[in-house]
């Protein structure tokens, strides 16, 4: 990112402030949503959606992923494949593979 001109950075700063405001608003929204009368499935879905939006904002703008080199995008895509596998491992434990019971 060494090729940025001063004006570039100034417009970046505006974006950072917008992202900051969005993150603050989404934090309030996610807390408010938790007080709504939702089923636990709906609540989990909504909370994870909001967290994912917030996380993407941080990654895209603060971490500059939106204008980052392809190599890093590739590393992260592979990471997320493994991450999702990791998330699904626990559910395997709840299938009765050999019909013990």
């Amino acid at each position: 990112m060494s090729d940025h001109s001063m004006d570039d950075i100034k417009s970046h700063v505006k974006v950072y402030m917008l992202v900051f405001a969005s993150l603050a608003v989404l934090t309030v929204v996610t807390v408010a949503a938790s007080y709504m009368d939702l089923s636990s499935g709906e609540a989990i879905f909504l909370a994870l959606i909001i967290a994912t939006i917030k996380g993407s904002l941080v990654a895209s703008y603060f971490m500059h992923l939106i204008s980052e080199k392809a190599l890093i995008t590739w590393i992260l895509m592979i990471t997320f494949v493994f991450f999702f596998i990791l998330m699904f491992i626990p559910t395997i434990a709840f299938f009765d593979w050999v019909n013990i019971s």
């Binding site: 990112m1 060494s2 940025h4 001063m6 950075i9 100034k10 970046h12 700063v13 950072y16 402030m17 992202v19 900051f20 993150l23 603050a24 934090t27 309030v28 996610t30 807390v31 949503a33 938790s34 636990s40 609540a43 989990i44 909370a47 994870l48 909001i50 967290a51 917030k54 996380g55 941080v58 990654a59 603060f62 971490m63 080199k69 190599l71 890093i72 590393i75 992260l76 592979i78 990471t79 997320f80 493994f82 991450f83 990791l86 998330m87 491992i89 626990p90 559910t91 434990a93 709840f94």
Partner: protein, 198 residues
């Protein structure tokens, strides 16, 4: 021996070495926290119906919301400290980095208040599986905050001498430290709803 490609991009990767390095490290961090998130799912599925939610009611949502806002603010000031260097404003860099460090201290103070109030009420990691994963996840995250504070403190203090001799290299160091700091913020963005709200 000097570290190569701290300012110039390496031709084959198109990146400075430190940036590739930090992203690979962060990828490993995703898996470290991922393993614990996976443990959370496992424990939640294994707990009696609704018990996990019930056990989580002991946590202080207003304090955690405040902490979320503090951490988000520190992410903004961190990126602003980098932007200040890009605009050749060393004083502003120091100011923003200072605020970032203050926010980190604030976060840890609130975390300390939360932890001690749990202990006073006789709630420990051994109380139930929710508290076990709560203390593990927030404890590991807290250690990451402390690690970031050490690096940021160094870069604001003695490490900032580099600005006079190698400004571009120093600016890159701030960007790399920032990437780590934003990651710590990102982890909290997921920890907060998962532990406090669900």
């Amino acid at each position: 021996m000097e570290i190569p490609y701290t300012v110039e991009e390496r031709p084959d990767t198109g990146l400075i070495n430190s940036k590739l390095g930090i992203w690979l490290f962060l990828a490993s961090e995703v898996m470290l926290f991922g393993g614990l998130f996976s443990a959370y799912v496992f424990l939640r599925l294994g707990a009696p119906d609704g018990a996990f939610h019930e056990w989580g009611q002991e946590l202080n949502v207003p304090l955690a919301t405040l902490n979320t806002l503090i951490l988000i603010s520190s992410s903004v000031t961190m990126v602003m400290s980098w932007a200040s260097l890009k605009m050749n404003d060393f004083k502003k860099f120091k100011m923003y980095m200072g605020i970032t460090l203050l926010c980190s201290v604030g976060f840890l103070v609130i975390k300390y208040i939360e932890y001690t109030s749990k202990f006073h009420h006789g709630i420990f990691p051994s109380t139930n599986t929710f508290m076990a994963i709560y203390f593990t996840l927030t404890g590991l995250h807290g250690l990451h905050i402390i690690g970031g504070m050490i690096v940021n403190g160094f870069l604001m203090g003695p490490g900032s001498k580099m600005w006079k001799t190698e400004p571009e290299h120093f600016t890159n160091r701030i960007e790399i430290a920032g990437l780590y700091w934003h990651f710590v913020d990102l982890v909290w963005i997921f920890l907060f709803p998962v532990l406090y709200l669900l």
